[in-house]
């Protein structure tokens, strides 16, 4: 935890002030993490407006449930977890993942287009945003947030195999999109 963060207040001071409803402290916390969290939100959303809604919903939850933060892990990690959970909840509301997968037709590994490594962050986000909801969710959780397929299956209430197949399809679709965009052979 950083010893000194905003206006001479440590993160612990800010949390304490937020718990007492100090609006200034809440504002400081929001601006400390909003940039990083906006990037998380946009990965879980189809477009910017949806990401902005997700960010706002999440921070309202963060401040209203701050008393549940037990100082055991990092505050940033806790905030990120709430963002991800809110994104998952929203995703479950807006779409139904009801998909049967024929694993026989899935090719697990494909060659990695070199172009991925030269794409900018914005371009990568754009690629993720273009994925169907289910693919995007699983790809984000597995590839970037570091969840296991078992965890994903529990969170999204799907089979572990479905999680694996969604991830594989997501990767495939990303490659195809890059291929289409940059005319690079897969």
């Amino acid at each position: 935890m950083s010893p000194l963060l905003v206006n001479g207040k440590t993160e612990k001071d800010l949390i304490k002030a937020c718990l007492s409803g100090d609006r200034q402290a809440q504002r400081d916390v929001f601006y400390m993490y909003s940039g990083k969290m906006m990037a998380v939100c946009i990965r879980f959303s189809r477009h910017r407006q949806e990401a902005e809604d997700l960010l706002q919903d999440s921070f309202v939850k963060i401040f209203t449930h701050l008393k549940d933060f037990e100082n055991k892990g990092s505050f940033e990690g806790w905030i990120r977890r709430i963002i991800v959970n809110t994104a998952i909840k929203n995703n479950l509301k807006k779409s139904v993942i009801a998909e049967e997968i024929d694993l026989d037709h899935i090719v697990e590994e494909m060659s990695v287009p070199e172009v991925f490594s030269v794409l900018s962050e914005e371009e990568l986000i754009k690629l993720i945003s273009g994925l169907p909801d289910g693919y995007r969710m699983v790809f984000n959780l597995f590839a970037i947030e570091g969840f296991t397929h078992k965890e994903i299956s529990e969170i999204l209430n799907i089979e572990e195999s479905t999680s694996r197949s969604q991830l594989t399809k997501a990767r495939k679709m990303l490659k195809e999109k890059v291929n289409d965009l940059y005319k690079v052979a897969v």
Partner: protein, 442 residues
């Protein structure tokens, strides 16, 4: 994790983006109101503040009183005069009714070895013993005979001038000598501490703050408004309320006095609701697969647009404040040198009433601005509430002759609705509270 995952993670896990300018404003508007710096402890703090200020006042006046005792004559005029003999409490109480007298006590010329004289002109330096004769209208309690007393005043070694409550009290302590009733000694070689009390002027000023609880009474004017009344009761909860003010007390007699002044009351409530504007329109995609021989051959995609009910909980503080003129009567039940207990009853005449906040409208969906100085609330809530009966029990502790501390549990009842006649509900409040304050006796 494959190489694509690694690229995405390395580039995006610490990526940051600009947030929209109005994001924080939107979030802040959805957060609960900022907690007040005051906690429930403030009630205790306010009581402590009153007590400490009372003590400070006492000390100030005590100092002032001592200075007065040492340096200046005390003029007491046109007052009731009561003398009490506490001698071993077995000879009864000695009462002197000297209401026509105008005693004067001059510290500079009295209280030394030469003794005191009590006369129509008061206490003064005199070589003669203090003589109380029949012209002083001295009477034994329960023995209303005129009599005379002779007290060997040179043996008095201490004289206290100690004003208390509504009285100025003279105590003569450690008086050695003979106090006779006729030819019978009633106090010989005893410590006799006769006390004389003079009732003071009868006007006082009270400053107070009251900690109130004010439950709401909502009554629908027709049966079909019962659900609306229920929704309002459910969404609007009473919170800490208070009142404060000042009032003058004028004593009409030993037992009765009247009070009037100015009172400010604020009834607070918390209106909690789910923002109906927070409903979200979502598109649901359902994919049905068509199987043939256990294999997927086709799929049908159905898209539906649904409205997901809002979940945004909002909380608004509703305030019902009023300014009133209390017109009250007080009857003293117990009144001694330390404590006064009296019953208080009367009415509060409303001067103005202001409402502020929000509530559900009678359609049970939209939100209503109940501020009666603007918007639609102006057409619903009154600006003048008429009279409300008040009843209380006042317990005062005499800190010094000029200052009392008092506590007053009380109840106040609104007789008429704060809403206008065409509103489908009547809305009233009964207030129960504990007033604490200080009283300054002029």
């Amino acid at each position: 994790m494959n190489s694509i995952d690694k690229i995405f993670r390395s580039k995006l896990s610490h990526h940051t983006l600009e947030t929209p300018d109005d994001a924080w404003t939107n979030i802040a508007s959805r957060l609960p109101d900022q907690k007040k710096k005051f906690s429930p402890w403030w009630m205790i703090v306010s009581i402590l503040a009153i007590v400490s200020s009372s003590v400070a006042t006492f000390l100030y006046f005590k100092k002032d009183m001592l200075m007065q005792e040492m340096n200046s004559p005390v003029q007491i005029s046109d007052q009731e005069f009561i003398a009490t003999n506490y001698h071993e409490q077995q000879e009864g109480t000695l009462i002197a009714e000297l209401s026509k007298y105008e005693p004067t006590f001059d510290r500079n010329n009295a209280g030394n070895d030469n003794g005191l004289k009590f006369s129509k002109s008061g206490f003064s330096k005199n070589t003669e013993p203090l003589i109380l004769n029949s012209s002083s209208n001295l009477e034994f309690f329960n023995q209303p005979e005129k009599t005379s007393f002779e007290i060997n005043t040179p043996l008095i070694n201490k004289i206290y001038f100690r004003p208390i409550s509504n009285f100025l009290k003279f105590e003569i302590q450690n008086m050695k000598g003979n106090l006779n009733y006729g030819n019978s000694p009633i106090g010989k070689d005893h410590s006799i501490c006769p006390t004389m009390e003079i009732q003071k002027k009868k006007l006082s000023l009270e400053l107070y703050v009251s900690h109130d609880y004010a439950p709401k009474i909502l009554k629908p004017l027709s049966e079909d408004m019962l659900p609306y009344a229920a929704i309002r009761m459910e969404t609007e909860k009473a919170s800490y309320s208070f009142s404060a003010g000042l009032r003058f007390n004028y004593q009409l007699s030993d037992k009765w006095s009247v009070l009037s002044g100015l009172n400010y009351s604020q009834i607070n409530e918390r209106f909690n609701y789910i923002d109906p504007e927070s409903n979200q329109t979502r598109e649901i995609t359902i994919k049905d697969y068509i199987y043939q021989n256990g294999k997927i051959v086709d799929s049908i995609i159905n898209k539906q647009t649904v409205i997901i009910p809002g979940e945004t909980k909002l909380s608004v503080k509703n305030k019902y404040s009023s300014v009133d003129i209390p017109v009250l009567g007080r009857f003293r039940v117990i009144d001694n040198s330390h404590i006064n207990i009296s019953g208080i009853a009367g009415i509060y005449l409303n001067v103005s009433s202001v409402t502020k906040g929000m509530a559900f409208d009678s359609d049970n969906i939209s939100i209503l601005d109940i501020s009666n100085n603007s918007g639609i609330g102006k057409e619903i809530f009154k600006n003048y509430l008429g009279i409300s009966p008040y009843i209380g029990l006042n317990v005062s502790y005499h800190i010094n002759p000029s200052v009392d501390f008092f506590a007053e549990p009380h109840a106040r009842f609104q007789t008429s609705s704060i809403t206008k006649a065409d509103y489908p509900l009547t809305q009233r409040y009964n207030t129960y509270g504990l007033t604490t304050g200080v009283k300054y006796n002029f």
